[in-house]
């Protein structure tokens, strides 16, 4: 399992996800690819109904990574608001798992 593929600005160290071309802080185009996993769940809900052609059922939430970026993730069991989580990529999607995992 891999962490969230973040981009770290080579000049000002700003961490972003999803990736950008130019750094919103300093304008640099030089990025280091890295991974981050540690964060906290800020909001949580459940998709009970979805438009035709889209799948319902997932628990989703906002996770703030310790380095700053906020991302939308699928929430695993016990990943409630305020919980510290480890975020991994499963089948292309960020999934927040409650510590300890």
């Amino acid at each position: 399992m891999t962490g969230v593929p973040v981009s770290v600005c080579a000049r000002c160290r700003r961490v972003v996800f999803p990736a950008r071309e130019l750094c919103p802080g300093c304008g640099s185009s030089h990025w280091h690819r890295d991974e981050r996993s540690a964060g906290v769940v800020e909001d949580a809900t459940v998709v009970e109904r979805a438009p035709r052609g889209l799948r319902a059922g997932a628990r989703v939430g906002t996770v703030r990574l310790d380095d700053g970026p906020r991302l939308v993730a699928r929430l695993g069991p016990g990943a409630e608001i305020g919980a510290r989580v480890r975020v991994v990529i499963e089948e292309g999607a960020p999934v927040a798992l409650r510590y300890p995992v």
Binding site: T45, V47, R49, P51, L54, R70, V72, P94
Partner: protein, 375 residues
């Protein structure tokens, strides 16, 4: 100067008409309202999610327009005012005399789901795999933050939805015209907590149009665009979405319009979700003491300020990109005294907003215009 406006019927299940058919119908309606002919038009702006593989030049050709000014906009709920901003300048500069501003979409079975799953690269790559089920989940999370930040309950959104539905009952063009009570709102099926059925716009097919002209036909009221401001990507999607960028733009809007929030007679606020209506109104300085709950009860529900008199998209329907023109069309109708049973008496100053294009977690685009009736 805005010389006319029109909207096609909004249909939950479209018939054989295509996106082009809908755009053509709205175009004819707005030109008729303005007293112009197709041959008078020398500029075209168009926005649609379902026009592909066609583009603006194809619309010109299919509608039989010979033009010297052309643009296509892709900014969804912010496209209407963005096109208005460009069209107004084009007419002021003499680049065009009569600009047709069009937006519309036809959504057949499954079309909306396909659009929502690949709305942009970030949605396709990082949200659809969750699966997040479309924009409702993102705005459910945003609404939770709004409730927490302001200590709101669902009742506040419910009262707003009920007020808009009451306006819709006097709009023959609205999809949902039957009255709704707060109890109905609260008892409706949950879509994504805290959003229920009536917090989510019904997706429809349809089109809207306005005519921007250097010299409107004499004899009928025309509408001046007194001021228009916009904010795109104000916070890099790193905030909480509870501000739109209109907060920073508001002083310039009111300064150049020469009026203040208290002078607005009628407001058309982009309403993809109830929370966004209150957020935009707060950004623009209309919500006294930042108290949204009280504002809904004392100002919106009482009609002290008529807000979304068409019923808004929540009641009238969201016809894709036409949602970006829906509020403008309603404001123009109100200012020209053509709003029928729901006419606001002596409406002279209107506020219109646009909001949209979810880049990742919330809308990246917001704009607002102050319009004024000229005799």
């Amino acid at each position: 100067m805005i010389a006319g406006a029109a909207e096609t019927r909004y249909a939950r299940r479209p018939g054989p008409e295509t996106t082009l058919t809908l755009l053509a119908a709205a175009a004819r309606g707005a030109l008729g309202d303005a007293g112009f002919e197709l041959r008078d038009v020398d500029g075209l702006a168009v926005s649609s999610f379902t026009l592909a593989p066609d583009h603006a030049a194809d619309v010109a050709w299919r509608l039989g327009l010979r033009l010297r000014w052309l643009m296509e906009d892709t900014s969804g709920g912010a496209s209407g005012l963005n096109m208005l901003q460009h069209a107004t300048r084009a007419v002021e500069a003499g680049d065009a005399e009569v600009v047709l501003v069009l937006a519309g979409d036809r959504f057949g079975e499954g079309d909306f789901g396909r659009l929502a799953a690949a709305y942009n690269g970030a949605t396709r790559d990082h949200l659809a795999p969750i699966p997040h089920g479309g924009p409702n989940a993102l705005f459910a999370l945003l609404t939770l933050r709004h409730m927490r930040a302001e200590g709101l309950t669902r009742d506040t959104y419910g009262r707003l939805v009920v007020a808009q539905r009451t306006w819709a009952s006097s709009n023959p063009g609205a999809l949902h015209r039957q009255p709704l009570t707060l109890q109905d709102y609260l008892a409706a099926p949950t879509v994504v907590e805290p959003l229920g059925l009536y917090d989510c716009v019904p997706i429809v097919s349809g089109a809207d149009a306005v005519v921007v002209a250097a010299r409107p036909r004499p004899g009928s009221p025309r509408v001046e665009v007194s001021a228009l401001v916009a904010a795109y990507n104000p916070d890099h999607q790193e905030g909480d979405g509870l501000r739109t960028g209109l907060g920073e733009a508001a002083p310039a809007l009111w300064d150049s319009a020469g009026v203040g929030p208290g002078d607005v007679d009628v407001a058309a606020v982009y309403d993809d979700y109830p929370a966004m209506v209150l957020i935009q109104l707060a950004d623009l300085g209309l919500v006294e003491n930042g108290d949204s709950a009280r504002f809904v009860e004392e100002v919106i529900a009482t009609r002290r300020l008529p807000v979304n008199t068409s019923g808004g998209q929540l009641a009238a329907g969201q016809a894709g990109a036409a949602g970006g023109l829906h509020g403008l069309v309603e404001a123009v109708r109100q200012l020209r005294g053509r709003a029928g049973e729901r006419q606001v008496e002596d409406a002279r100053v209107a506020l219109v907003t646009g909001y949209g294009m979810v880049a990742y977690r919330y809308g990246a685009c917001a704009n607002a215009a102050v319009l004024r009736r000229l005799e």
